[in-house]
Subunit: 307 residues, 2 copies
């Protein structure tokens, strides 16, 4: 595959940036990938494992001369990073990000992006329960959607160039406006994560059931919750603080429906329960048909490699 950006700078060296560095290298999409992380330990690990071509000592140094700068930091610090790199950005460069929330990131970053630099927010819908510079792998984005969220006045050619990079990393591309993105993600990701965290917290708190029982008997359903409830706490704190309205709206719907099911259990209304449980099967079939999951009988147990 051809080089799409001569130099790419990744700010933040966690799961997403690490996977981007490896996916870019896999397909030869850039001549040079430089990186920066706030934590000295992360920079050291990145150097040790050769995650990118060059690890810099400041964000401003990393973006110097870069054709594409991708902010891969928690949503809550996007503004301070943008403020620092703004003056160092190369004319004609593109600034993008990978934040899980788009409206507040746009509001935080846009003011610091010079007029002669493109700003094109994006969000790859991919992740694992692991974090840090060692957690990345080149296949993370394969067959997963990356949503590009152009802002007013985004140059179509610059948008298409960024889309090309993501396609080269294996992703499927969609465009969306920021508010719709934030609502869709509140449904498909943010609220499910909050609920999973809550369920795991409840199990951890019970006195009459020990943690060791919860762990031993987790295969009956609970372990699927623990997997998503093990994600990076800082990232998720920032997601909820920055997608407050949409998350609270979906949570309201959720508790409303949960109370209806709770009442059906209390009243012994088997028909209500059966109808509800039948309806939800159809969505599952759609996900398997769309290639966004497998129907392997027990994926969680089969020894699986990174390939």
């Amino acid at each position: 595959m051809a080089v799409i950006y001569e130099r790419v700078a990744l700010i933040g060296l966690g799961l997403i940036a690490g996977s981007m560095a490896l996916a870019i290298r896999r397909a030869g999409l850039a001549d040079e990938v430089v990186g920066y992380a706030k934590s000295a330990e992360s920079r050291e690990i990145a150097r040790e494992i050769g995650l990118c071509d060059r690890v810099c000592e400041s964000a401003a140094e990393a973006v110097d001369g870069a054709d594409l700068v991708v902010l891969c930091v928690p949503v809550g610090v996007m503004d301070e990073v943008a403020k620092e790199i703004g003056p160092a950005l190369k004319k004609g460069a593109t600034v993008s990000d990978v934040g899980s929330v788009k409206r507040t990131v746009i509001d935080a970053v846009a003011p610091y992006v010079p007029d002669d630099v493109h700003f094109i927010p994006a969000h790859p819908l991919a992740g694992t329960e692991h974090s840090g510079p060692r957690s990345g792998f080149a296949e993370l984005f394969d067959n997963r959607y990356t949503i590009i969220v152009p802002v007013e006045g985004s140059d179509p050619a610059a948008v298409e160039r960024l889309a090309e990079l993501w396609r080269g990393m294996g992703a499927l591309i969609e465009e969306m406006d920021p508010d719709h993105h934030d609502l869709v993600l509140a449904v498909t990701s943010h609220t499910p994560h909050l609920i999973a965290y809550t369920m795991v917290g409840v199990a951890d708190d019970l006195r009459r059931v020990t943690d060791s029982e919860v762990i031993k008997y987790s295969a009956a359903g609970f372990r699927d919750f623990t997997r998503i409830a093990a994600s990076d706490p800082v990232m998720w704190r920032d997601v909820f603080l920055n997608n407050k309205d949409a998350t609270l709206e979906i949570l309201g719907r959720f508790t409303e429906e949960l109370f209806a099911l709770q009442r059906a259990i209390r009243q012994g209304d088997g028909d209500h329960l059966h109808d509800y449980f039948t309806r939800t099967r159809a969505i599952r079939r759609g996900i398997i048909e769309a290639g966004q999951d497998t129907d392997a009988p027990d994926f969680g147990r089969i020894k699986a490699g990174r390939d």
Copy 2:
């Protein structure tokens, strides 16, 4: 491995019974496995794929002469099946079941078990989102817990014999009393399933986010919910109707904690969110260390066979 029961009768030919038939055959644990299902179609499929040695036309016929009878039917019909087979049970035989709830099953079945027959309830904590006679596979119970729930007066030798069968099918064995079993399962399985069903129902109901969007962007967390929300509706209806008290208790705890997190989001209390999300990571580590899940980076996507 040695034969443990000469003849085993499986009543109900779904995922669990089918997997038992295959696991018993894999290890040579019985001379003959006979089966019965209420649905003529299921019986026909079971015969076609050779699921067991003999498929009978009635439950009473199936249990005739059997040394072990296992009730693998939804919890809500245990009583009517027990009533039918009671008079046909062989003296000295053992009756067991695989129901997800134990207290109500014991109350439903025990009255029909003759004095000269052992009654030893059990519950294998294993399952997939699939159901029906084609869904079974011999590895389902490998390294998963089966909880044996002896009733008052259960003969220790008969209990140990049943445990041997389950070990032969690959399972790890624990004993528990019925009420504690029902509470543990309310935490690790029943409430998580209800919550997953609810979240999928909410997503399906929203007008501003289409089903096709939910399906496309499910990899961001939602798909883990759809997997458990695709389980058999009849089985789950019966679980909630029969484990009402424990499920409602855990649901009460759940909504209490969810409301606290919701308030933290509304008030922008990042510390509360961060602390909560950090605590839940420890349970996840325990599950991986206990061998009840893998930490493969994205198990859901990797092509996994049936071994």
